[in-house]
Symmetry: C2
Subunit: 264 residues, 2 copies
């Protein structure tokens, strides 16, 4: 038999799914629930915690618990976005370049609606990075950290960390300047200024629990995982030229990948 907390959570969960408790509506307070059900306060706490983990409710300290609005799933379609970005990057037409950088979410969003904090660092490659890039430990890397936010939509918050070996890009000093952010026209366009063309991109996807900073920045309920995408860009000569990781809220993000198959 399930625990008392689980049974209470299931009861409330059913009332939510049946629509008896509508999205946005406030749940009975925990004190009220304690009085009505007769179980102890900490047990009610546990039950509400289970509902939070399942994404059914949302709690604000001092206000109460509320039935969550249905999640708006954001779809990130990598296959098409990478091809489109490369298409844009192949031109010098400023209008097309102004559209968006690739690490951001919605290709249709205008540059001016996006706030970006960026930081550039000059770091040494550790064992792991050196192996991935096929360079020596201690070789220098440009580390770029972008924190992007679509105005008034905290939902689409996003943190990207990117690494590029310095040796590939020092031919264009503009690329080392954090004020010049984010690399106008996107990474692929800027790499083009130093003669690099990306031929292939590999996305590795994992789900993991968020760090405390991530939970805070992405406004994650307890129990929600993040999707972490490690993107490896390989140029026409087979070199790994950029590795970036992006983190998305696991409960609101769908990743879509298309594989075209050769004909028989």
């Amino acid at each position: 038999m399930a625990t008392k907390a689980e049974r209470l959570a299931s009861d409330i969960g059913r009332r939510i799914e049946s629509g008896e408790l509508a999205p946005g509506e406030r749940l009975p307070t925990m004190a009220e629930m304690t009085r009505v059900t007769g179980v102890a306060g900490t047990t009610v706490q546990t039950a509400y915690g289970i509902l939070r983990d399942r994404g059914l409710i949302h709690t604000v300290h001092g206000q109460g618990s509320f039935v969550r609005e249905p999640k708006v799933m954001f779809t990130r379609n990598a296959s098409t976005r990478y091809v489109e970005e490369k298409g844009r990057a192949g031109t010098d037409d400023p209008e097309r370049l102004g559209v968006m950088i690739a690490e951001m979410d919605s290709p249709r969003v205008k540059r001016s609606d996006v706030e970006v904090d960026s930081m550039y660092f000059d770091v040494d490659a550790d064992q792991v990075m050196a192996e991935k890039f096929g360079i020596e430990v201690g070789d220098r890397l440009l580390e770029r950290i972008y924190q992007t936010r679509v105005s008034a939509k905290a939902d689409h918050m996003n943190v990207v960390t990117s690494y590029v070996p310095l040796v590939y890009i020092e031919g264009n000093p503009e690329l080392l300047d954090a004020d010049n952010e984010p690399w106008p026209g996107g990474t692929m366009h800027q790499l083009r200024t130093v003669g690099i063309e990306i031929a292939k991109i590999v996305d590795d996807v994992i789900a993991r629990p968020p760090t405390m900073q991530e939970a805070d920045a992405l406004d994650l309920e307890s129990g929600v995982a993040v999707l972490q995408i490690t993107k490896t860009s390989i140029d026409t000569e087979g070199r790994v030229v950029e590795i970036s990781t992006a983190v998305y809220p696991g409960d609101r993000t769908q990743l879509s990948y298309t594989t075209e198959l050769p004909r028989w």
Copy 2:
């Protein structure tokens, strides 16, 4: 300031990451920890729960808590697996066909090392399914549920549910027989027997909390999410001919997708 439970969890976490507590080693019992730290038993419980959620420890009722062995990541490379499966499916060479079915994990595993439970059902398309397939509500679908397990490796447990509109496959009665499981040579090969060639596959990936059955079947610690892949197969005439979903343990699975970019 963090809570007492969080601080205690961080302390122990550091001792694990520093190697002071080695993988497989038993942690101090909760009673012991209560005595040593002076915090209440329930608080120690909470701290140990946090460590479980972070994947650092593993608890067995009646035995104790143990430092987890480093996770063995299993990588599922969709882009290449789909292309390979189609290659195999294009032949009638029995050896090549015997290798593996596509929904399973490791293409190198032999058929005989895999246990499969399969169930076939004849179901009516609901609103959602009808829309995805572009058919009418109430049209019949073949539902196949595979539960696969690589012998002696509970880790690679896997549950797949697949839907195919009956009208596409009733030309070959063998395909409707659950004893004929799993579709020898894989779904693509069997679809070939009724004249269908898959041209494109779309994978949609989300992370979500496991159902109780999934947590049980996949042996998931509390707080671990599952990765759910919805695979949509589209044939050379643009019809959606199969939709399947597969669920993987989020803490042990890495999905890899490759995008080839057209040259400038």
